[in-house]
């Protein structure tokens, strides 16, 4: 779901991104994917940046539904490694246990093991080892996954 939406948004010519939301718990399930696109979101060939206003609209939408921000996911275009850049580290949410995921090839990289997986831990993001990924993450298709688009004006149903 995430990669399809990011490919549609970025069209492989600009970075795109999404927020993974769910209930923060010992075992946390991602139950909502919110693509950030439009007013209040900067999307360029080497930049995807979400304004505070977008986080505000997502907060107003998500909190009454019991949702927390669990991860920030964004793409890197072809030729750019799926690793967190310095700017990514600076601009991402710096909260313990926050996950940052980088999907290469403009979102076309389907093998999640080739994505960059980072966890905010002790004042910086550190890349998760393959062993940690295997132990800590379980891919599962949730039938009731909620999918939305958010910008500075609100959170919207996807039109397609």
């Amino acid at each position: 779901m995430t990669v399809r939406g990011l490919q549609e948004t970025g069209q492989r010519v600009r970075e795109s991104g999404a927020l993974w939301l769910g209930e923060r718990a010992t075992t946390a399930w991602i139950t909502a994917v919110v693509f950030s696109h439009g007013n209040g979101v900067e999307e360029g060939p080497s930049r995807w940046k979400v304004s505070p206003e977008v986080f505000g609209t997502v907060t107003r939408w998500g909190k009454p539904r019991g949702l927390c921000l669990l991860a920030v996911v964004h793409t890197h275009l072809h030729g750019i490694p799926a690793r967190l850049s310095r700017a990514d580290r600076q601009y991402s949410v710096q909260i313990p246990d926050m996950l940052a995921v980088v999907i290469g090839e403009g979102g076309a990289e389907l093998d999640a093991r080739r994505w960059g997986w980072y966890l905010y831990d002790k004042h910086d993001y550190r890349q998760l080892l393959a062993r940690e990924l295997h132990e800590r993450f379980v891919p599962e298709n949730k039938e009731r996954l909620t999918v939305r688009r958010a910008d500075a004006d609100g959170v919207w149903e996807l039109t397609k």
């Binding site: 505070p52 206003e53 949410v93 909260i95």
Partner: protein
């Protein structure tokens, strides 16, 4: 012997002319990454700045500078609050008993000195 009367026991607090009793305000601050919101009751003359400070401490975040400047704001009804001296009474008016804020982060690139 007549009983001694403690004058303090008969003392009554009377509002001065023009003074009105303002009920406390139930404040909730949500922060998107956090599992639980910040809840506290504040007097109506408490400032937005004080609530921001308390909420940031609760969520374990702080304004800071690295290569960029990271600053947290309270957001109310979709508007970022920038006047930290504004009181709840001024913000909400006289009839509100509760207020819901969001805490959001602004990162300004290259502002470090």
């Amino acid at each position: 012997m007549e009983p001694q009367v403690n004058p303090q026991e008969n003392k009554q607090v009377v509002p001065t002319v023009g003074e009105q009793t303002r009920p406390d305000v139930e404040v909730t601050v949500e922060y998107l990454p956090a599992a639980k919101p910040f809840h506290r009751e504040y007097p109506a003359d408490e400032t937005v700045g004080a609530i921001r400070t308390d909420a940031m401490a609760f969520f374990g975040v702080s304004d800071h500078r690295d290569r960029d400047t990271h600053q947290f704001f309270l957001e109310f009804r979709g508007q970022r609050l920038t006047n930290m001296t504004e009181t709840l009474h001024q913000l909400l008016g006289p009839h509100h008993r509760g207020a819901n804020f969001n805490l959001v982060e602004q990162i300004t690139p290259g502002s470090a000195v």
